[in-house]
Assembly symmetry: C2
Homo-oligomer: 200 residues x 2
């Protein structure tokens, strides 16, 4: 018997996918080999293509196949309004909601000292250079409203406090369509603390 069979090697490799343990990896390996060899070939080609062509936009740090991504290159967007997000997925949610017409900076994660992710891994110095060099007027901190996202936002706000840029944070409160009966205490407290006077 060889030291390691092709199936064992494949199983090990598939375990590198996030959220995939030994059982799922085995199921995937068997499925691809038995029922979907075309799918396996598609995955190989798509991975090779993406590995070769996808890099980061030199402006916003998002994934891009060009040096500057289509959002940063779009002159119709407000290039002085910068939205800081954790991940490309967050950026896509905001774009799909048409919630923002400025440009972005993608941290590619949040501060997580225990996982070895500090300011350097999040390119915070590149963010501060961007803010200084590109005449940014306002930085909207749109990291997640989780503990990690909040501390990342706090850290970036502290780094930027000496520049004369406006720093803002996404509004916190009851989501649209939310029912107070089912809202958690933290959200209700925020919604009361940050209540807005109604204009009349």
């Amino acid at each position: 018997m060889p030291a390691k069979s092709a199936i064992d090697t494949l199983r090990e490799a598939l375990k590198r996918l996030p959220g995939i343990g030994p059982k799922s990896a085995q199921r995937m390996a068997f499925h691809l080999l038995e029922r979907d060899r075309d799918g396996a070939t598609m995955i190989v080609e798509a991975l090779n293509f993406a590995l070769a062509s996808v890099s980061h936009c030199t402006h916003c740090n998002n994934f891009s196949e060009t040096e500057i991504c289509t959002i940063c290159a779009n002159t119709k967007r407000d290039q002085t309004l910068l939205c800081v997000v954790e991940t490309p997925a967050d950026l896509e949610s905001i774009e799909q909601a048409s919630a923002f017409r400025g440009v972005y900076f993608v941290l590619m994660g949040h501060l997580a000292p225990l996982d070895g992710i500090g300011p350097d891994q999040l390119s915070v110095d590149r963010l501060t250079r961007t803010v200084a060099d590109r005449g940014i007027r306002e930085v909207v901190l749109a990291t997640n409203l989780t503990v990690e996202g909040e501390s990342t936002a706090d850290y970036i706000a502290s780094v930027l406090q000496n520049s004369d840029v406006v720093i803002s944070r996404l509004a916190r409160g009851v989501p649209v369509g939310g029912e107070l009966e089912y809202m958690d205490a933290g959200t209700l407290n925020q919604a009361f603390d940050e209540r807005r006077q109604i204009q009349r």
Copy 2:
């Protein structure tokens, strides 16, 4: 903007994995590109290696990198005792439990007419030829104890009924360590129906 970006292509490809929807595929794509390009390369190489080298054992239909797999080639095993299982994963469970010292036949699935999986897809004719040609003494039907597994076992038993081979089915009952309080009605009924007299 190109018709389809490398990331979109990768996302589509990863959706071919079983149990992976659009959100998980996106998470995998971003994870591999941002945090684990080595892992992506490993997956590409392992898939290519497996696609090229893994085929089916001509005897038992299990995955194998050789024409006859190590289990079928093992002369210390009882080559006249044949265990029919649905999948390679089932075979591995049985092997890990050292529950069986004969040889196997792997159906690679179960009967599922609605999904287009009939006797031909499960190579049932190859199984009957194997039973006839290789002097099999007993066929143990070890398909799952699910509705599909049971009907697959029933079908194979009906196909083999004219050959003079012994046909058996895995025992059904309360699993070892099982507590009656938590057992389902079907299992309890089986356990009573198939109760065994204690030898004294």
